[in-house]
Every structure is written in C-alpha cells, then in structure tokens.
Subunit: 235 residues, 4 copies
C-alpha cells in the first residue's frame, strides 16, 4: 500500500515577478503629466499610490505582475479558479498519475459551524470530534487511493481511474496575476477585521491568500501599505 502524505497547509512560493512600486507610479504618471511642478513634488511615491488606491484608479496596478506556485487540495483550487483575471496551469490527472498527497486540517482548524447555514461562523470541535473526523477521513483516503491504484493496475485509463480522487487530494499549479487582480483576490479571500467589506472565505483558501499577501508585501511594500490603509478595498 502506498504511504499517503498529509499536508496541513497549502504551499505557496513566488516564482517570478515583474516591476515594483515604481511600475505603478510610472504608469499613473503618464496620464497625470499635467500636474504642475509644485504638485509633482508633493506627489511623492507613497502619496500617489494612496491617491490611486483611494480613488479607484485601478489600471496602473496592472503593470506589476506575479507568478506563484501553489500546492493545495482540489476543493481549494476550485475556489481559486473562480477568479478569472489570472493565468493558470494546473497538473493534469489525465496526462499524469498524481502523487498520494492529501490535505487534512490541523487540530486548530475550526470544525464546527456555530452560526447558521447562510451565515456560518466557525468554532473549534472537541478533541474527540477531531479524532473521529480524522479517523473517518484517513480510512476513506486509503480506500480511495487503493481504488485509484487498482483502477490503474487493471488497465483503466488515467482519466477514468481518477474518478476515485477525493476533493482533498492535493494538486499543484502556476498562477500569474497582476496586482490589481491580486488585491481583488485578497479582498475576497482574506477575512480581516480591517476590511471595509467583510467576506467569508474558507479557511484553506485564506491560508493560501495570506502566503501570497506576504510575498506581495515584500516586493511591493508601498502598494501593499496603501491597500491596507484603504481598508483592503481593491481599486
């Protein structure tokens, strides 16, 4: 029996990126060249970026672009790909046999809905609930992986064998996204008390988004500061 590998969190790394805070202001200035010299002096880098963010001048943020590598469960990728303003390439279960990597929550991941179905809020389960949950899932994952391998061994094509995949199986992809779309993604996929408009992302995609935000903040510190100062409203 193949040993299953268990991940408790997505893997995110910044593979490539184009530009810097300056890419945004350079693009913005092409349209604002009429500012007289005095105003220009005042329009310091950070001030200009804050101004663009606050006034919803979003297009200058499209000239800075990031490529991320992401590994995570299928159910999270499904949410991720609802964001259409990005380029995606994901591992294919038709052309390759996937490795036995599954996502399972760590004990501190809230398990219980203490709100309503329409407005869920989450609280921790008991240790016993968590253990029972993990035991049920592990047994199911082993069964599912066995069926996948049996399908393949029985000569069934990859694309039919994979019907035995669970949605917590891990996949991997490259995502290329500009800062404007990235901020939209972050505004929807991170629930922060600092947000003007709250959202209710699932825990696992928020884990992804937080790792992406860290890379964003490192490479585009002024844009990131303006995003936070603007209550995480994407321009």
């Amino acid at each position: 029996m193949t040993e299953l590998v268990i991940l408790n969190a997505p893997v995110v790394s910044l593979i490539d990126h184009m530009g810097s805070d300056r890419s945004v202001t350079r693009a913005a200035r092409v349209s604002l060249q009429g500012l007289n010299e005095e105003e220009k002096a005042a329009a310091k880098e950070q001030g200009l970026i804050n101004y663009l963010m606050k006034n919803r001048h979003g297009s200058p943020f499209e000239h800075a672009v990031c490529t991320f590598y992401v590994k995570g469960p299928i159910f999270t990728f499904r949410e991720f790909m609802r964001h259409r303003m990005a380029g995606y390439n994901e591992r294919s279960g038709r052309y390759s046999v996937l490795p036995a990597e599954f996502y399972l929550p760590s004990p501190d991941r809230p398990l219980v809905n203490i709100g309503t179905s329409a407005a869920p809020e989450f609280g921790p389960g008991t240790p016993e609930q968590y253990e029972r949950y993990i035991a049920r899932m592990m047994s199911l994952m082993e069964h599912a992986w066995q069926v996948y391998e049996d399908n393949l061994a029985d000569g069934i094509a990859n694309e039919m064998s994979r019907l035995a995949h669970l949605v917590n199986l891990c996949s991997e992809m490259y995502v290329t996204i500009n800062l404007r779309s990235l901020m939209n993604f972050l505004s929807l996929r991170i629930d922060s008390p600092d947000s003007l408009v709250r959202s209710r992302p699932q825990y696992e995609i928020q884990q992804c988004a937080e790792l992406m935000e860290a890379a964003f903040a490192e490479h585009y510190p002024m844009v990131h500061a303006a995003f936070v100062a603007n209550q995480r409203v994407a321009p």
Copy 2:
C-alpha cells in the same frame, strides 16, 4: 444508508438566450455601412456571417448570449471553469448539503488508453474490466457518502464534511456565455473529424458540449452553419 443516484451523462438545458442570427449581422453592419447598395444586396445574412467567421471578425458574435443550466460531475466542472469568458454560479458545498448524485460511465464509454500518456487514444475495455471498475467505484462511493453523512451527523461543518466528496459527485451550475466564447469552448471541447485543429477533450465534457451545441444550432442556425463550414475554428 442513503440511496445513491447514478447519472451516466450530464444534464444540459438552455434556460435563457438573447438575440438571434440577426443580432450578429446587425452589429456587424454598424461597421460595414460603407458597403454600396449592390454589395449590400449581395451581403445576404448567411453570406455576411460566413464572411465574419472566416475572416476572424469575432466581436459581432458577442451580442448574442445564452444561459445554460448544467448538471455534471465535479471533475468535468473543473475543466469547464478553465474557460474564463463566461459567468458561472455553482451550487455550494459550503452553504448546502449536496444530494447523493454521482456520475459513472455507461458501458460504451471507452475505458482503456491505447495510445501513450502524452497522446492518449481510447478504446473500449472488456466487459469484465468495466464490471470490476464499477464495483470498485460503487463501493468507494458508498463509503465516501457514509463518511460525509457521518461527518455531518457528528456536528462537523458542511465545508469540512465535504472533504469526503469524490470528484465524480455531481454538482449543478448556471453558465452565461456569448456566442464567440461558446464557439471557442466548442472548438476545444468537441473533437470532430471536421475540425481544422483537432483537440482531445475528455469524453464527459464533450457530452456537455454536444448538448450545448444542439441548443446553439437550434437558436442561431446561420451562425452555427458558418462555424461548421469554417472547420469549427472560432472567430
């Protein structure tokens, strides 16, 4: 134990649509008003549509729009949503408990890869292979559904309970798409000997696409005829 419902094919129905073949020619004519009267007479409806299709004047096809209801397995929805030029609303496993509907192939669905992994071609399995496959899958589906129900009964939130979903579980969605994007979708998701550029869609999404094409052909017969005449190259 909940009785599992098995689908052997996706369900597709046209819910709403805007315009007709005339929407395309009306939009095209706004830019071609310079045609003199003689040319205009010649530029009959079908001829104009053929001309637009052949010469890659794609934008007039964006003024006719369809909304489809689609029910099908998660692994097919994953392929579907890679097409970004459409609007999607899918049933959520976070806000609702999903019904026990699964997709399984019918006996005539090819099961075996007789090509290579990079260039797969598919042939039928033996009846025994098919039976073994279905038996393995049915047992796994029952196990998975039991775990899902046990998770829920044990107080686990919907969004965590659903980690027990298999990718052949069925979901449902509305898709709104204009004819230009629809033809792009059809060109990639139907492998036809009439296509200039062949593609290798998975069987299940081709089933979806064929049902969508039938509705398209019924409501926009001239556009559809031009698409076929143009070797299924989207404009």
Copy 3:
C-alpha cells in the same frame, strides 16, 4: 459645402436585453439551496438581491445582459472602451464614409475649471466665453470636414482621409454588457452625491451613463434599487 449636424447629447437606446431580476436570484439560489425553509421564506426577491449586492457576491449579476445602441463623440467612445468587460461594435471609418455629425456642448455644460488640474471642478463660463468657444469650434469643424471631403474627392483612401476627423465627430456602436459590468461602469462614470466612492467622469460620458441607467432601472428594478441602496458600489 455639406451641412454639419450638431448633437448636444449622446443618443442611447436599449436594443435587446436578457433576463430580469429573477435571473439574478435564480443563479444565486443554485448556490444557496441549503437555506432552510424559514430562511428561504424570508429571503424574498429584493432581500436576496440586497444581500448579494452588499456582500459583494457579484457573479449572479452576470446572468442578465443588455445590448445598447450608442451615438456620441469619439472622445467619449475612447473613455467608454476602456471598460473591457463588454462587447463592442463601432462604425468603421475605414470601411465607410462617416456622416457629418459633431458634438458641441449646450450652453449649460460647464466650461471652466475652477479647481486644479489634478482635482478639477467645473463651473459655467460666461455667455461670451461660450459664444467664442462655439465660433472657434464651428469654424474648425467646417475646415476639418472640408479637408475630409477634399481628401476623398482627391482619391485618398477612407482610412487616410479620416486623419482629418476631430475627436468631437460622432460615431455609433453597439455595446453588450452584463449587469455586473454595467454597475461597475455606472459607479465610475456617474458622479453622484449618493456614491460611497466619488469619481470624476467627464460630463459627456455621464450623460451616456445616465441614459443607460434609466433603461437598467426600468428592466431590472430590484437590482437597480439594491445598487442605489448600496451607495452605488458595484458588487
């Protein structure tokens, strides 16, 4: 000499539309089917739409679509087409000889910037300023049209003759846009005291946008009411 036709406002008409307020709620409900019966009863049409709008659930608004005919000056079309989530077909000055229709402001259109160049605010000009402006423009327009006709009469191709066009020459187009994108357009192209985020659209594109909003309000009254109630923030 060809008589010039002068327009003081854009022409907008709704040519076609798909769906109604119900298209939005139908699409939303596919994902919210988990609402229990009591909640469902409460989730009346308007309430559900307000909820979607307020919580930035934008995708259900993509299943209702409008096609507009618009006639207006080139400088306004240039602003219009910066909105990429729409389908456009515009009259071509390459394939046709354009008619002699120009836009000129009516006397009540503010003429003078009483703010700064970066933060312009507009006030009325004096009647004398307006008359001088119109006189200069009329003389230039007659000159430009004469050059255009002389170019054509001298055998110059349409696409080179049209270099004599002024940006206040009128063009016409069809625009197909879904409600989500339309609300984004309206939020940026109408400056309303009711808006959470103010914008500074040019007068002429706001005229266009107001006519589009009237058609939107007529055919999708609940969606429009929710947009206004949500301080004109697009979902």
Copy 4:
C-alpha cells in the same frame, strides 16, 4: 504659433518584461509531468513549445508578460484598445495639456484604395496627390492647434479645449500584455504572407505591431519561432 512636431512612425519600446521561453515550458510541464523519461528527453524546449502552439494549448503562454511604451496617433490607439486582454495607461487630455505632436504619413505610405470599400487594397498615390494631402492636413493641423491654444487661453477647461484635437494627434501609453494575448494581437494586426488567416490591419498599427514583435522575438526567441512556424496562428 507653436511649432508642430511631425512623426512618421509610432515609437515603441519594451519597458519591462517577465520570464523567458522557460516560463512557458515550466508552466506547461506542471501538467505534463506524466511524460515518461524517454518522452521527456525528446520533449526539448523548442519541441515542447511548438507542440503547445500547434495544439492550441494557450495557457502556458500567459506566464510571460511584457510592458511596452507606445507613442502614436489617436486613431491607432483607438484600434489598439479594442484588444481587451491587456492593461493600459494612456496620457489624459483632461488632466494635462498635450504637446503639439502629430502623425503624418511618409511618402511611401500607400494613399489610394485600389480595391473596393469592403475589401480595400492600397496602392501608392502620385507625388502630387501626396503633396496636396500633406498641404491640406498641415493647414488643418495648424488651425486645430490654434483653436486648442485659444480655447485654453480663453479659460476653457482642458477637457473642453481638447474637442479641437484631430485624431492624428499623438498620445502615449503603457501597455502590459502576456505572450498569449500579444500573439493574438500580432496575428490580427500584422498582415503577413506567412499567415494562415490573412487580416487587413491599417498600416500604422502594423508599424506598431512590428516593433512589438521585434522585442518579443528578441526576448522569447523560441516562442516567437514557434508562432511563425505555426503560420502566425495564436494558440
């Protein structure tokens, strides 16, 4: 009187770019990891890129991105911005006073339509035709610029003064575009005898596109070679 500056060709420069040929193959390989070792060895860089291009696997080309600076006439920018899969920032005639730079054709730019209006083909004008054309246009441009300056001097706001702009006035912009969209742009805006599907771009935007293609070919030589080998059909 302000001296007019005349450009006979657009200015294009590559300002920034992300990735290389390797960005494309890296993204493609994430989905093709199932290739066995032998096949992998065969799938050399260029071969893989050719394969992707030929089989319309377009998404890997979205992970390489370019930013261009472009200066050119307004009538060309109007055509440019019909391509929606790019980010644009253009100089604004509302916030700034534009410089007196105009585009005029050089003597070798074809002036005469020797085809029909629906299927134009262009031939050279006589030297006398060219001289008359330039004389008419120069006189009009001087008039237009005088009206613009008079408008400004008379206290008319920038955004109203600019109604005196001709469409051959030059503007400038930044364009950020990924390789997939860039190839689509090039396939439509360059008419090449090597193209599978011919198009009829206007001369001036083809000049732009050729300069962009040169930068593309320099930085992504394998992708460019595959595009040409594939008869300039964008994937």
